[in-house]
Amino acid sequence: MKKSLWIFGTIALAFLIDRAGGWFLSKITQESQFRYSRLYSGHDPADILFVGNSRGLSFYQPYAEEKTGLSTCNLSYNGMPVSLAAPLVMDYLDRHHPPKVLVMDISLMDSVRMDNKLAYQFNHYSPNSQRLSDLLKRNFTNDFYAGKISHLYRCNSEVFQRTFYYWKKSDKDWLLDRVISPSMMSSVGEQKTLRFSYDKKMLDQVSTMVNYAKEKGVRVELVVNPYYPAFVPKIGNLDSLMNDLNAATGLTVKNFGNVVTQAEAFGDYQHVNKVGAKLYLDKLIQAGVLETRTGLHSN
């Protein structure tokens, strides 16, 4: 009997450390300056709310705030699928005074290229959100319940690492800043056609999110962020996606896919760098997607 006690002792010790560690990490999660921590703390009021995948990071916040004079919040994340974007946006709207405008880059409407397993990386935020909990329970049942057993397991993700990294610093200038390589530029012709793979369920998710925002009095703008100019012909079914979104939400999608023409403004075929992000934001202001504090377009 005495010899078997060490098993219970080990489990009890592991449980205690897990709970203590989990408590400490949940404090970090709450205090972090990472965008989703600010979202769930309810302390991130913004006039402009952005959402998208890695391409949504081109809504470069410092420049947007400088040019518009308005506060911004960007919920974009690499590989963000619409199934995750929708609950995050709705959670934001529940916890904050409604922003003036919600801008969404529609390239997250792609079930093939988006990271459909990303949601489970938001497990450490699940205690803060019924919507996230439901999503996890539905799609990542094992991970959800493993997170109930071990609170440290909830924090076992890259998203938590970023939460930790931005504990005491702002994440607003998160944008890949490199220039597309000459070899990439020259091999653009060899790239396969990019086709958005989406279904009715995804269109419904966007529709739900848009309607929810509209009910809160938020203007919603659906946009196509810029692509490397020579890559634009490689996009296969953008028009049908825009039409389907229009039918599902009643909104006209604004296509800015080819408004940035300089090669040095891109990091790769699908992502602008800081230079490109600034050029793009200027275009959004000129087109009236983003308004400025004075209501005038800035130069």
Binding site: W6, E158, Q161
Partner: protein, 539 residues
């Protein structure tokens, strides 16, 4: 079934209590059936292959020692009976998979295993008839080699050699095209085939007595902890352990649990955390800056080490709990100061197999310098080919052959140079370890690359120093996590050299509790549980 799955958790939770509540043959039956369930969970159809291989080697082991085929009438009865039983079982399982369990694949050619068995015994019978009393043992051993390597050749190498031969003819302007076989590689075939072969060779060499108890022999071949990815357990070490029951022993459970946890830490925490970065870079190396390629190569060195040695640790740990002892398969290989030391620390069960059944029979180092070089190279080339049907594996073996030859040829002048430099011994050891690691990594590039084109892209990418700057490191979160985990691994391994953590854990319950709880928490906080299989399953 894989260790890092919920299915296995359920398997072990059912298996362990029943195992310890049984004794004698009942326990052996349980072990055998559990092993077949463990293996068949992946694809039940290949159970026919492993049982075929077991039946043939069991019989040949007895024939080799007996000097003649055993009771002819009884043998044919057994062969036809076994074949018929196999056909009936397959037909039954086919019926179930078509009706009750439609998701389970069925065996199209249900008669093949039975036909294979009967043909194999026809070969054995003919070989026996054509043999004399003096050469019968030898010939039967050769028949065993031919049949075992035949299975391996068909299932693992047929398409590879067929495609390579066709390509070679094409280079000479001869248009040759023939069909490849539409077959899947059975998991672990290289491991259990080598294990089985070592048995017949050892019986022929009179190093062991043939095992006449079929149940014990079948359990030896299929024993689930090491069946699919080693260590390759020799009959001489393992079969005698079946001669008695192993009682439940707390110390074995304690040390076995520690070993299993350590194996899971290596696999789920280190190897699977490094894998995504490595996979991305090796998929398309020319899309990445050289700094990322260098990191990916270092990461891969640790990924494959932790993946493979992690499996061995788990296997050794579970076997220890069940009362069996396996030899060590890895002994901190990246601390080797030269390549012969590396091969005495890396995949020891394979390297010692190749040494005892290939290198030494070829003459080893007994026939002069050049014969030794030739034997080194041949052994390493076949060692490379053992890993998989791809020329990149063969080239990996070739590089290691070169390293061993280079070490023999240049070891002395290099040693003199190092002594002349009068480095302190720790620095000398450090330089040797770094050099060995560097060349090992160079060989890993070929091992990991899908083809020579990718390998050359990796090497030219590194050599070009294009974008060799910290600014260009992609996904710093993966990189920081990767190096942090490698750091933890090395810290534990280095400290283990002096501290022998396993024996400390056995002596001091408080330390054990903290250590095991820490491993559990590291698994929870850093572990990756969705990546699936172990790398060595494909070999």
């Amino acid at each position: 079934m894989i260790f890092n799955s919920l299915t296995f958790l359920a398997f072990i939770a059912i298996f362990l209590p029943i195992y310890f509540s049984l004794k004698g043959n009942a326990r052996l039956w349980l072990s055998l059936i559990a092993s077949y369930i463990f293996y068949g969970w992946w694809d039940w159809r290949f159970l026919t292959l492993i049982s075929l291989s077991t039946f043939i080697d069991y019989y040949l082991g007895a024939v080799i020692r007996n000097g003649n085929i055993l009771n002819e009438r009884k043998t044919w009865k057994a062969v036809f009976g076994y074949g018929a039983l196999m056909a009936l079982l397959i037909l039954g399982l086919n019926f179930l998979s078509k009706t009750v369990f439609p998701k389970i694949s069925y065996l199209d050619y249900w008669y093949l295993p039975t036909l294979g068995l009967w043909l194999a015994f026809l070969v054995i019978y003919m070989a026996n008839k054509l043999s004399t009393a003096e050469n019968r043992g030898y010939r039967m051993m050769v028949v065993s080699m031919v049949l075992n390597l035949g299975f391996l050749g068909v299932f693992k190498y047929f398409n590879f050699f067929s495609a390579s031969f066709s390509q070679m003819l094409g280079n000479f302007g001869v248009e040759a095209s023939w069909n490849t076989l539409n077959i899947i590689l059975p998991v672990g075939i290289s491991f259990y085939t080598f294990q089985s072969m070592s048995y017949t060779i050892d019986v022929y060499r009179k190093e062991i007595e043939p095992e006449l108890n079929y149940l014990k022999f079948a359990t030896f071949v299929a024993f689930w902890p090491q069946l699919v990815a080693g260590p390759i357990v020799r009959a001489v070490d393992f079969l005698p352990q079946f001669q008695k029951d192993h009682d439940f022993h707390w110390n074995r459970v304690i040390t076995g649990t520690g070993r299993v946890l350590w194996g899971f830490f290596k696999k789920c925490v280190v190897a699977d955390s490094l894998a995504p970065f490595v996979d991305q870079v090796f998929h398309e190396p020319d899309a990445f800056a050289s700094v990322n390629i260098v990191i990916a190569v270092i990461f891969y060195a640790f990924q494959i080490y932790c993946d493979f040695s992690g499996y061995s640790d788990i296997a050794i740990g579970f076997a220890r709990m069940l009362g069996y002892d396996f030899n060590e398969n890895f002994k901190k290989p990246y601390f080797s100061q030269n390549f012969s030391e590396f091969w005495s620390r890396w995949h020891i069960s394979l390297s010692s197999w190749l040494r005892d059944y290939l290198y030494i029979p070829l003459g080893g180092n007994r026939h002069g310098k050049f014969a030794t070089y030739k034997n080194n190279m041949l052994t390493m080339l076949l060692g490379g080919l053992w890993h998989g049907a791809n020329w990149t594996f063969v080239f990996w073996g070739f590089l290691h052959g070169l390293y061993l030859i280079g070490q023999r040829a240049l070891g002395k002048p290099f040693g003199t140079l190092m002594n002349g430099l009068r480095f302190p011994s720790w620095l000398k050891a450090g330089v040797n370890i770094a050099l060995t690691f560097f060349f090992t990594c160079l060989a890993w590039i070929f091992f990991r690359s899908a083809n020579f084109g990718i390998a050359m892209d990796v090497i030219t990418g590194i050599a070009g120093f294009k974008g060799f700057s910290m600014v260009n490191v992609m996904n710093k979160f993966w990189v920081i996590k990767g190096f942090l985990l490698i750091g933890i691994l090395l810290l534990i391994e280095i400290s283990d050299i002096r501290q022998h953590w396993n024996s400390v854990a056995l002596r001091q319950p408080a330390f054990r509790m903290v250590a095991y709880a820490t491993l559990l928490l590291l698994l929870a906080f850093f572990g990756s549980f969705g990546s699936g299989v172990f790398i060595y399953f494909q070999f």
